[in-house]
């Protein structure tokens, strides 16, 4: 593999990993607070639609991003009301969110734009412009350093935001009082309640943050990676993000590693139709299945153990 190919694959990896990273961190924060979230996929899809629609109508991509975040947070709160306030089953509520998003985006898009459940193609300021890092031009001709720097330069703003979210999430979870309480709510909500902190409030806070991050993931899909919304365009990325979260054992830095690995697998599968490793031709199907296979291997306990937050999935019932 020559240098240019290598750089192109890594460049593509960063772009493909970005929506996964947002969604993965979203799931991580929600699950650390004890709320399982299967609905990442649906929230991403809804955000992708509204972000593209508002960006098209207003001609400003950032208004679109805000709209995407808003709709995603709304869906998060629906999930919250169902599973926190009414103590419903979190998995079922999450699945319902996915179905709701898959159906309603197409119906509204058709009613709004009459283009068959898609938004018109975005142009100009309605799309996220690539951001050239300083000195990228000047360094382009420097051997080794130039191409390497080139990989990191020229992405949409949200790509950099996504990777900054990793230390931010780590800091929030492990270095702040809010984070300590949030993790405690996921492990032992009764203890948190005894300390006089609202379990319900903490959990709502977590699902709201989850909504914001999913909104960014969806907005990036439709306005950064492509130019407009197409039905079902999230194409299973929410589930891959869940797999990455389990693969990373609910830890932010590891999550970044996991999504980069999964992004790399997708980028390689996109670039090559088959890979030769030691004389053995691997079809791309293997590459596409690997994220799931790796997650199953992790879950089966071959590589350490993946233990979810102890109170995950169960609604908190105050003792009387």
């Amino acid at each position: 593999m020559d240098m240019a190919t290598f750089a192109q694959v890594l460049d593509s990896t960063l772009r493909l990993a970005t929506p996964l990273l947002f969604a993965c961190l979203a799931g991580l924060i929600s699950e650390r607070a004890g709320i399982f979230d299967i609905g990442l996929e649906g929230k991403m899809l809804a955000a992708a639609f509204l972000a593209a629609a508002i960006a098209f109508v207003s001609g400003n991509v950032w208004l679109g991003v805000l709209a995407g975040i808003a709709v995603s947070v709304c869906m998060s709160l629906i999930h919250g009301v169902a599973s926190i306030t009414f103590r419903g089953n979190q998995l079922i509520s999450g699945v319902a969110i996915n179905f709701l998003a898959a159906g309603i985006t197409v119906v509204i898009a058709q009613r709004w734009f009459q283009q068959g459940g898609r938004t018109p193609s975005l142009t100009g300021d309605a799309r996220m412009a690539p951001l050239e890092l300083p000195f990228a031009e000047a360094l382009a001709d420097v051997p080794v350093l130039g191409p390497v720097y080139g990989i990191f330069s020229g992405h949409a703003l949200l790509v950099y935001v996504a990777f900054l979210c990793v230390p931010a999430t780590w800091f929030l979870l492990f270095r702040t009082r809010f984070g300590l309480r949030l993790r405690a709510v996921g492990e032992n909500p009764a203890a948190v309640d005894t300390a006089g902190i609202s379990v319900i409030g903490m959990r709502y806070g977590a699902v709201a943050i989850c909504g914001v991050l999913c909104g960014l993931a969806g907005a990036y899909l439709s306005t950064g990676l492509s130019a407009g919304f197409v039905k079902d365009m999230s194409a299973g990325r929410g589930y891959i993000a869940l797999a990455a979260m389990i693969f990373a054992k609910w830890r932010p830095w590891h999550a970044m590693g996991a999504v980069l690995l999964f992004g790399l697998l997708e980028a390689v599968a996109n670039r090559f139709q088959s890979i030769e490793i030691m004389g053995l031709a691997l079809p791309i199907q293997v590459m596409q299945a690997l994220p799931y296979i790796l997650t199953v291997v992790i879950l089966a306990g071959f590589v350490g153990r993946a233990i979810p937050p102890r109170a995950g999935g169960s609604p908190y019932v105050k003792e009387h």
Binding site: A4, T5, Q8, V9, S12, R15, L16, V106, Q110, Q115, G116, G117, R118, S121, L221, L225, S226, A227, G228, V230, K231, D232, M233, A235, G236, E266, A267, N270, R271, Q273, I284, Q285, Q288
Partner: protein
Amino acid sequence: MTILKTLSASVSALALGTGVAVAEPALIFDLGGKFDKSFNEAAYNGAERWKAETGGDYRDIEMQSAAQRVQFTRRMAESGANPIVVLGFQNAPTLEEVAPDYPDTSFVLIDAVADLPNVRSVIFAEHQGSYLVGMLAAMASESNTISFVGGMEIPLISAFACGYAQGAKAVNPDMEVIVNYTGNTPDAWNDPVRGGEIARGQVSQGSDVVFAAAGGTGLGVLQAAADAGVYSIGVDSNQNYLHPGSVLTSMLKRVDQAVYDAFSEGPGLETGIVTMDLSANGVGYAVDDNNAELITAEMQAEVEAAREAIIAGETMVHDYRSDSTCPAF
């Protein structure tokens, strides 16, 4: 008295009206949806043309998941619609199951063959149309590298790729043709993000004409090509207008004509296999105001010559589906 008369007259008129309405034709869209800007939309346009010209009405329904194939087709037949046009290569088993139960209803299967007495199977010579756009691609390319993005990796889509490569190599035997498929699940028809990334990868390998045969995924491919400043080729419907100046042409598949013909012939239409090839104008390439400047007179003359040669049988375009091999690779 007169009121009663008018009433009874209008009632009988209504009854007559419903009597006619029962035999109205129906169209069942495949996964991908009515407005996919491509395959299904072409069928929709054909049905709408028939409606505008004859003033008749038709029923339609969109498949939402593979599990609904048999159910929807049966429901349509049960409702008395005739003829029923079923779109999509995956519906051959559907009709094999449903059609024998409704021997008086005519079915039209598009893109696959079901050998039944009341089914007309319409297949297209996609390899011939792809051959022509492959020639155009090769003539427009300056880097001597062109590429193809397929949806699911199935024989139908491989036939597009194979015809495309043959056409390109007929113009220039040294032409490099890069082929990628989006995936192996139906997701592959609706993933513009992955389509765009694949196209970017191909452009970085030197491709300057990208042909997308991938449904909704193709929109991402055409977008990425327009962003990168290279040419792209649309598929099924005329997609030239999507990015004027960047979309070199579109490989037309006249699904609209097949639907229009079926609706026009009505119940009891002739069954058997209908091949929509170049001679039947079933496939072709699109030239309109959006790409008139991209297709020069010489290019068009050369492609027209090839078209005549294929129709006359002097040039044989190999169909991947006949033996699952492609001489151009």
